[in-house]
Each structure stands twice: as structure tokens, then as C-alpha cells.
């Protein structure tokens, strides 16, 4: 057990590539937490996908012991948080588990979009924030300009920002000292009943489910019987440990401490991020505020390219779901795509991450259908149905009206891009709720249909603001609107996986764009192919893919026979990446790309 006054808990807030992981590595290295021989670059990002994309999906933590200049040894707990709007809830829980943040800004780049979204999360959690200027060793570094920007844009004092170079190690001792002197110690009552927050959990092949907690009050020990207040489940603590970042057993964790436990929990699904953990007997009365159950908001179909892989896909999805409570799935049948699963995600990045993991870790080729939200169908007989898939839309004569989820979106943007942002929101059926200025940055609040945001809104926002906008949203509820199902017909055959729900007033424009995109996405065939968008039986847009006119190898002599034969074999294999609809082959990427609204 460590004295509260000798604990500091913190997170690092930074934009991609601004050096968050490198700084974390340096802190770990300088304090001798990890033996030199075990160091490998970027210790904390565990998944390949995380390393590649430079994003953090799962929270990670490391406990560092630091002998400070005052002669005392402090325990520093670093929680590395996810950094994407899809995981905003997970971030908010991680932020509530610590008292301060290091705000790392690249001194050659300045403050960028992602920094803002996360730094506001830190401010919301009442963090003390220590600004750190990284890459100060580069000739292009402009520390004074960047300090000014931090003060202007974020509104925090940057006069004592610490100049560092995570790469060379310059300034790292100062950062460690600042964590001790400038960040507050946690508060908590050792004598009170146990109250700990479940920060994250994951599946370990050897240990089963590992739960990361922050103790607020009381003490947790190995062997304790604990209760998860949201699920009501009771478990016995098998193992209690801290992460350095390898697991090191510990007898107990007291207030302010961060650690992990195992308790013979079978599935990650049995744990809820944000849940409150207390003792089975003499537990605390009230759980910690702010808990929200994971709620998938984006749905799409995942189908194996090769129908024979369906069972392999089922296995993979079941295994993945054990480790990702926020991901839901149920079996789906598509006339066009065969057997697959309708899956629910926290957002589009989450969708992409899950799909990538299924493809890579389980070696599957998948077709992903257009993402959709959950519509509420109010039937004429009074029944209310959830519609997860536009293909399941019943005949309109039975439907009284349709409601769709709305969000409250907050966008921070430099005023030079404001016009483009307003136009984007307006184009997506947004209703402006607020517009204020802070310096030269505007804050816009829009009421938007979630359906207009789940697809490529974030990409578009990044592109029209060159990455200088931050975006966050909350789901506010459901509202009725004039929504219709639009079908796409390729060569006169409806392709169910391409049907979407769309606002009546936007249907024609949307249908036109989709037909134009499909015209480019579907390769020419040996005959011409009509592509139509229709509402019910009425065609509202049409394009024609011209017949192929030329595809022949110019030179083919004696030395080319073998190569040409292999090329044809390869091309035939490439056809497997296509889906056959009647006589037409549609490439897999068409199912997503056709929906994009750019251009």
C-alpha cells in the first residue's frame, strides 16, 4: 500500500505522431521500470493495428516508481487512453481514473484536432494539465508560437511548458519531477467501504479476463469477494497485481492506486467499463456516477467472400466478441451475399478495427455492407420495431411513421474553415443549435441525424478543415422524419446489400451520386449494365456502365506463354474478390465506397 501523498496518476494527451508513445517509453526507461533488454519501441500499443494506425484502442497502464528530488519515492501510474471519438466513453472513464494529464504538443506542428478533443476530456475530468513541448531538438521547432497557441486555443497557462525531446531523452527528468510537483495527489478514504472503478478489461490467453481498476476508497486484497454493482455479479479475487508493464503481484491496493485483478471471469462481456466494484459484504451504497452501458450505434453486415468460410467467420466473431463487450452480432441472410452477420459497433473506426482484426487475425476475406443506424418503425398496429438493416424494411402500407436517432454534435474549428463546416452540417440535414467564438476558433453545436454522421462525416470534416477540427457527439434521442428505403438495381436486379434508408427530400440527389459511383466502381463487363436507384417501384436515378471494348494482350509469343498463363490464373483468382449478382461481378469495396458522399 502506498501513501496517497506519494501517488500521482496521469494520462498523456497528444495528437498522432506528436510523440505520446515515445515519451511513455522514455519515462519507463529512465525510471528503470523495464530492463533495458526488454525495451522495444512503443511498449504500450499492443495490437498491430494500434501500432500501424498510431491509435490506441484499449487503455493501457504502467506503474512507475520514481525517486524524486525531495528524497521520497513516488508511485506514478500512467494510463494510456484511447484517442478516438468512437471510444469517447472509454476515454472519459480513463480520464476519471487519474488526476492530471501531460499535454504533449509537437513544437514543430502545434496543436491539432485530436489533441483538442482529448484535452477537453481532461479538462472535463478536472485534471491538472502540464504542457510539454516535444521535438524541441528539431530546427523547425517554434516553442514560443506553440505556447501562445496552447494558451489561445485551449485556454490553459503554457508559460511553464516543459521543452523536451522524447527521441533524445532531453527534458525527461524535468517531466518526471513536474508530475510529482505539479500534479495533485489522489484523494480517498482508506477506512471507507471499497469503491473502485472498472477502467478497462481484456482477455489474456493464460489468465482469462483481466480487469483494470482504480481504487477510490477502501482497500482491495487478494481473496476478497467482490461485487460488480451494475451487473450484480460476485467474484473472488484470484490475483491482484500492478503493471510495470508486466504483471507484478501485490498484496493489496488502496485509495488512489491503479492495478489489475483476475477473478475467474469467463468473458470480457461480463465486465462493464465504468462499473463500480465493491465488496460483496459491507459494500459501498452508491456506485460511481457516469456509468453508461455500451450501446452499438452503427450496424453493418459482414459476409465471407467465400461462402464456405461462414463457419470460420462465426468462430472468429464469437472469439473476438469475448474480448470486446461493445461489439454485438447476430446472424443475417442476404439474397445477394449469402450467410453472414449483422454486427453493431461504437462507431466507424470501431467497425474498421473489428473488420481488420477478423481479416488479419483469423485470415478471412470479408465483404462489409453499408453502415446503418437503428431506425424505429412505428407500425400501424401500434407495435414499435427496431430496424437494424434497411433490407428488412417492411412494406410501407404497414408503417405509420419512422424515427431516427439524433445527435448533439460539437465541433471546434479555426474560423477560416467555419463556412465549410457549416455547409457540411447543413448538407447532412443538421440544425444549428449554437455558434460561439473563443479567440479565432469557433465552436459550433449542431443537432444532426446520426445516420448522416456514421458514414463518412468524420472523414469529410477532417478533409474540409485539413484536420484542424475536433468533433464530439452525444446521442440525444429519436425523432420522426420523412424517411424512405432506397434500393439499388444493378442490371435490373436489386442488390439488397446496397439498399439504404434516406430522407425523402435527399433521395434523388443521393441516388444519383450512388449510381455515378457504382458506374466507376463496377468494372466494365462484356455487355452494358444499367445501374438504377429506386424508391419502391419508381426509378429515381440511372446510369449505364458501357460494355467493355478492349482487353487484349498486344504481344504474346513463345517466351510469353508461361507468364501469360500465370497472369490469367491470377486474374481468375482476383475475380474471387468480386461478388456475382446474376451476370454482373461487383467488387467488394463497392459496398462501402458507393455510399461515400464526397465529390
Amino acid at each position: 500500500m502506498t501513501e496517497l501523498s506519494q501517488i500521482r496518476n496521469f494520462s498523456i494527451v497528444a495528437h498522432i505522431d506528436h510523440g505520446k508513445s515515445t515519451l511513455a517509453d522514455r519515462l519507463i526507461q529512465l525510471t528503470g521500470t523495464v530492463a533495458e533488454r526488454d525495451m522495444k519501441a512503443q511498449l504500450l500499443d499492443a495490437m498491430d493495428i494500434e501500432r500501424e494506425r498510431g491509435i490506441t484502442i484499449k487503455a493501457n497502464t504502467v506503474r512507475i516508481e520514481y525517486p524524486a528530488k525531495d528524497g521520497k519515492t513516488y508511485v506514478l501510474n500512467l494510463i494510456d487512453t484511447p484517442g478516438h471519438v468512437d471510444f469517447a466513453y472509454e476515454v472519459s472513464r480513463s480520464m476519471r481514473a487519474v488526476e492530471g494529464s501531460l499535454l504533449v504538443v509537437d513544437a514543430t506542428q502545434g496543436v491539432e484536432a485530436q489533441t483538442l478533443a482529448n484535452v477537453y476530456q481532461a479538462i472535463d475530468a478536472d485534471h491538472e494539465i502540464v504542457p510539454v513541448l516535444n521535438k524541441i531538438d528539431l530546427p523547425a521547432a517554434e516553442p514560443d508560437r506553440v505556447k501562445e497557441q496552447i494558451e489561445d486555443v485551449i485556454g490553459i497557462d503554457a508559460s511553464e511548458a516543459i521543452p523536451i525531446s522524447a527521441k533524445t531523452g532531453l527534458g525527461i527528468p524535468e517531466v518526471l519531477e513536474a508530475i510529482v510537483t505539479r500534479l495533485p495527489a489522489p484523494k480517498g478514504d482508506r477506512a471507507a467501504p471499497l469503491k473502485a472503478m472498472l477502467v478497462d478489461s481484456w482477455y489474456d490467453p493464460y489468465l482469462g479476463v483481466v480487469v483494470m481498476i482504480r481504487v477510490m476508497d477502501g482497500v482491495i486484497r487478494k481473496g476478497d469477494r467482490i461485487r460488480m454493482m451494475q451487473t450484480g455479479a460476485i467474484y473472488g479475487i484470484d490475483k491482484l497485481a500492478v503493471l510495470k508493464p508486466k504483471m507484478v503481484d501485490i498484496a493489496e491496493l488502496g485509495p488512489g492506486e491503479i492495478g489489475v485483478f483476475t477473478a475467474s471471469i469467463k468473458q470480457v462481456r461480463d465486465t462493464r467499463v465504468g462499473d463500480t466494484i465493491t465488496h460483496e459484504k459491507k459494500g459501498c451504497e452508491k456506485p460511481l456516477p457516469g456509468f453508461k452501458p455500451a450501446q452499438p450505434v452503427v450496424f453493418c453486415g459482414l459476409f465471407p467472400v467465400d461462402a464456405a468460410d461462414f463457419e470460420a467467420l462465426r468462430d472468429a466473431i464469437e472469439k473476438l466478441a469475448l474480448n470486446d463487450a461493445s461489439f454485438s452480432y447476430e446472424m443475417e441472410t442476404s439474397a445477394a451475399l449469402g450467410f453472414g452477420f449483422r454486427c453493431g459497433f461504437l462507431g466507424l473506426l470501431h467497425l474498421e478495427v473489428v473488420r481488420d482484426r477478423l481479416e488479419r487475425e483469423y485470415d478471412l476475406d470479408l465483404i462489409t455492407t453499408a453502415p446503418s443506424v437503428v431506425f424505429k418503425l412505428h407500425m400501424k398496429d401500434g407495435e414499435v420495431r427496431d430496424l437494424h438493416n434497411p433490407a428488412d424494411m417492411p412494406d410501407l402500407t404497414y408503417v405509420d411513421h419512422i424515427e431516427e436517432p439524433r445527435i448533439n454534435a460539437t465541433i471546434m474549428v479555426p474560423d477560416e474553415f467555419l463556412g465549410d463546416v457549416l455547409k457540411l452540417c447543413q448538407d447532412r440535414r443538421g440544425i444549428q443549435a449554437d455558434l460561439t467564438y473563443a479567440g479565432n476558433r469557433a465552436m459550433v453545436v449542431y443537432d444532426l441525424p446520426l445516420a448522416e454522421v456514421v458514414f463518412d462525416f468524420y472523414d469529410r470534416l477532417k478533409s474540409v478543415t485539413r484536420g484542424y477540427a475536433s468533433f464530439d457527439y452525444q446521442i440525444t434521442g429519436y425523432r420522426e422524419d420523412n424517411l424512405v428505403k432506397m434500393s439499388i438495381l444493378v442490371n435490373e436486379e436489386p442488390v439488397d446489400a446496397l439498399s439504404i434508408m434516406v430522407h425523402r427530400d435527399r433521395a434523388e440527389a443521393r441516388g444519383r451520386v450512388m449510381c455515378e459511383k457504382l458506374k466507376d466502381l463496377i468494372p466494365r463487363h462484356m455487355f452494358k449494365i444499367p445501374v438504377q436507384a429506386a424508391i419502391g417501384g419508381r426509378v429515381i436515378a440511372r446510369e449505364t456502365i458501357a460494355a467493355m471494348r478492349k482487353d487484349v494482350t498486344a504481344k504474346c509469343y513463345g517466351g510469353d506463354v508461361t507468364r501469360k498463363k500465370k497472369l490469367l490464373e491470377k486474374q481468375k483468382a482476383g475475380k474471387k474478390k468480386m461478388r456475382q449478382f446474376g451476370k454482373v461481378e461487383i467488387p467488394q469495396e463497392a459496398f462501402i465506397s458507393a455510399l461515400k458522399m464526397d465529390g
Binding site: R524, M526, F527, A546, M548, R549, K550, D551, V552, T553, A554, K555, C556, Y557, G558, G559, V561, T562, K564, K565, L568, Q571, K572, K575
Partner: protein, 384 residues
């Protein structure tokens, strides 16, 4: 009769050197400072002896010196090779002996020597009849030089063919029609007309990937140029007998017909490939591509051949169709049926026939005029 005899038997000899490397060319060609022609002669002769020991004394219909730029070979080397060839294989009375040549003034000066060595047909790499496009294609000769070389060749050899590359950057339909008429007006009886193709690993591929080579035609413009090519050549009496080859009837390249009719050919030289039927087996042979490696293999192991592959029934059927459909005459269906149903999707052939892209009249499977420019798409459908 053995199956290969429907195509005949030829010898392909690869000379791997060029004066410079053309930016569009993905052939096995190299630029070397000094070439020891004696060393090459010994190696070719050794290979002729080795291969002929395997085939036995079958009648040889054709010899083809390809490259590279075989017109850079010393005429004495060509003569020595042909002498060795005649000593081991009985030559057909009408044997066709072709050499590929650059249409430069230096090469033209050697034409008589090649003729005296036994060459009776040359194929000139003219590529374009205007200097601007020749420069863009990285060619060293001018249009005037090419015409002069052609005239010398015409007087020296029984048969002369030349190559043009079309679908160049910014080439209009009208300009190609004019240039093609010029070419057809040059008293020529054989033309190879290739659509410019950006091949992997070439300088053009790198430029194209970097966003260069603006003005290359899209599919529709390329198809227009193809149609003009078929039209003009047919009107001039040189109908297309193969996808890119046009000839006055009787003037077709007999050597290349061996490839397209799936005959047998021996391939000698760096990177050369062959097809040899020996007893019940048909072999695909291949040689190391690097000139030095090939020479050393011949000198040290007595063989310039890499591992050979035995071709099964499906492979043989696929090659027969893939190569045979390039010819306007198509493939004899009976010959194809000989391989059973392996490798070929027969029901798809019937679909293609209904779509008007394939014909099966007269006992032959052939691509129709509409099908010929779509041959790759057709092959993807009918090769199972």
C-alpha cells in the same frame, strides 16, 4: 501424327544485347560495353548440339533470331549458328529464317552479311514514322533512317516485316490512320502493330506510376484505334491474322505461327523458353535470364537450361486455346477435344457464342471480330 506437328517445329535463339534499353520494353535485353562474340558462338553451338540430341533429326521449319537486338550480332556468328543448325536438323525446303533488326544505318550495312549467312526474312523495329514519337519512345533512329533501312532490307531479303507501336501519347485517330496508310504504302507484306502497353518493371511503368506519360488513350480511344487498324490493314490487303499481326495471305510469320498453333520449338539463349514434345510428354523449358549466368551454366554444366516443367492435359489445353484464339483461324476443336474436358469451361463457350464473341463454325473455335479485342476477358471466362 503427333499433336505438335499441327504447328511444326522451330528454333528460337535469343541474343540478349541492345545498344540502349527502350523505356517501354520488358524483354530480356541488356546493354553491355564489350561482348565476346566467340564465347557466345561456343555457347550457342553447345546448346544446339545438346537440344538436337534430345529431339533427334526432325524437320526444322523455322529459325528465329530474337532479342535484344540480334542485328548487333556479327554476321559470322549468325552464319556459324545456322551452319550448326543445318548439320543437326534437316531443314524444310521453304525454311523461314528470320532476324530481328534495328532500322539504323549501321545495321543496314550488315544486311548483306546476314543474307549470305542464310537469313531470308527480317523484322524491323521501326515503331513510328515520325521523329517526335520515336524520341518519346526512346528510339535511337530517325524516321528517315528507318525508311532507308527498310529499302535496303527490301532489296536484300525475300521477306521484310516491320513493327509499329500505336496508342501513343496524344496520338489522334486521324494521325494514326495517316501513319498507318504511309506504312501500308511502303510495299510491305507483313506488319506487326502493337498497342503501347505499360509493362511492369520498365522505365515507362515508373513514369506512369509517378503520374507521367500524360495523353495515353483510355479504353474507348484505344478501341477506336484498334478498329482503325483492322479497317486500314484489311483494305490494303493485309488482314489481321493474329491480334497484332497483319499480312498478305501467305506472308504470315511461319515461326510465330508455331507458337500460336502450339507446335514445338526449341528455345536457346538467356531467358529463352521452349516447348518440346518428347515421347508422351510435353515439356516447358526455360533458361536463366541473366546473360552471364546463362553463359556460365552452358560452360560449366554443359546445359543452359533451368528446371523443366511437364505440361499436363489441362496445361496443354489451356495453352492451345490461349495461343490459338489469338489467330483469326482459331483452334481446331478436334485437337482441343483430344485433351478431354480438362482446363476448359465448355458451357461458357456456348454462352460466348450466344453473345457473338466466339464462333465454332467449320470445326474451329475462334474469336469473332467483336471478340478479338476482348480476348483476355474471353479467356478468363473459358479457361476453367
Amino acid at each position: 501424327m503427333e499433336d505438335w506437328q499441327a504447328g511444326g517445329f522451330g528454333l528460337y535463339l535469343h541474343w540478349p544485347f541492345c545498344a540502349s534499353k527502350c523505356p517501354y520494353c520488358d524483354f530480356n535485353s541488356h546493354v553491355a560495353a564489350a561482348i565476346d562474340q566467340n564465347r557466345w558462338r561456343r555457347a550457342y553451338l553447345a546448346e544446339i548440339a545438346r537440344v538436337s540430341a534430345e529431339t533427334g533429326p526432325r524437320v526444322l521449319n523455322t529459325v528465329f533470331f530474337g532479342g535484344g537486338t540480334p542485328s548487333l550480332m556479327a554476321p559470322e556468328l549468325v552464319a556459324a549458328v545456322l551452319e550448326a543448325v543445318r548439320a543437326v536438323w534437316p531443314m524444310a525446303n521453304d525454311a523461314e529464317i528470320t532476324l530481328e533488326a534495328n532500322p539504323g544505318s549501321v545495321e543496314a550495312g550488315r544486311f548483306r552479311g546476314f543474307r549470305d549467312a542464310g537469313v531470308n526474312r527480317v523484322s524491323l523495329g521501326v515503331q513510328a514514322l515520325n521523329d517526335g514519337d520515336l524520341r518519346r519512345l526512346g528510339r535511337l533512329h530517325s524516321a528517315a533512317e528507318a525508311r532507308a533501312a527498310f529499302d535496303v532490307a527490301r532489296k536484300t531479303f525475300d521477306r521484310v516485316s516491320f513493327d509499329l507501336i500505336y496508342a501513343r501519347q496524344d496520338q489522334t485517330a486521324a494521325a494514326w490512320r495517316r501513319e498507318l496508310r504511309d506504312a501500308l504504302g511502303m510495299a510491305v507484306d507483313h506488319l506487326s502493330l502493337y498497342q503501347l502497353t505499360i509493362e511492369d518493371g520498365t522505365a515507362f511503368a515508373a513514369r506512369h506510376a509517378a503520374g507521367g506519360l500524360a495523353g495515353l488513350p483510355d479504353e474507348d480511344r484505344a478501341a477506336d484505334l484498334w478498329e482503325i487498324t483492322q479497317e486500314e490493314c484489311a483494305a490494303a490487303g493485309l488482314p489481321g491474322y493474329e491480334i497484332s499481326n497483319h499480312a498478305r495471305p501467305g506472308a504470315e510469320s511461319r515461326h510465330n505461327l508455331i507458337y500460336w498453333r502450339s507446335g514445338d520449338w526449341a528455345g536457346i539463349g538467356p531467358g529463352a523458353q521452349g516447348r518440346l514434345t518428347l515421347g508422351p510428354a510435353r515439356w516447358a523449358t526455360e533458361a536463366p535470364r541473366a546473360p552471364g549466368a546463362w553463359l556460365e551454366a552452358v560452360e560449366q554444366t554443359g546445359s543452359g537450361e533451368g528446371p523443366r516443367e511437364a505440361l499436363g492435359r489441362a496445361d496443354r489445353a489451356v495453352e492451345l486455346v490461349m495461343m490459338g484464339l489469338r489467330l483469326t483461324e482459331g483452334v481446331e476443336i478436334e485437337r482441343l477435344q483430344h485433351y478431354g474436358h480438362s482446363g476448359i469451361n465448355f458451357p461458357e463457350i456456348r454462352c460466348l457464342e450466344e453473345e457473338g464473341l466466339i464462333g465454332t463454325g467449320g470445326g474451329r473455335l475462334r474469336a469473332t471480330a467483336a471478340g478479338r479485342p476482348l480476348l483476355n476477358a474471353i479467356l478468363r471466362r473459358i479457361l476453367a
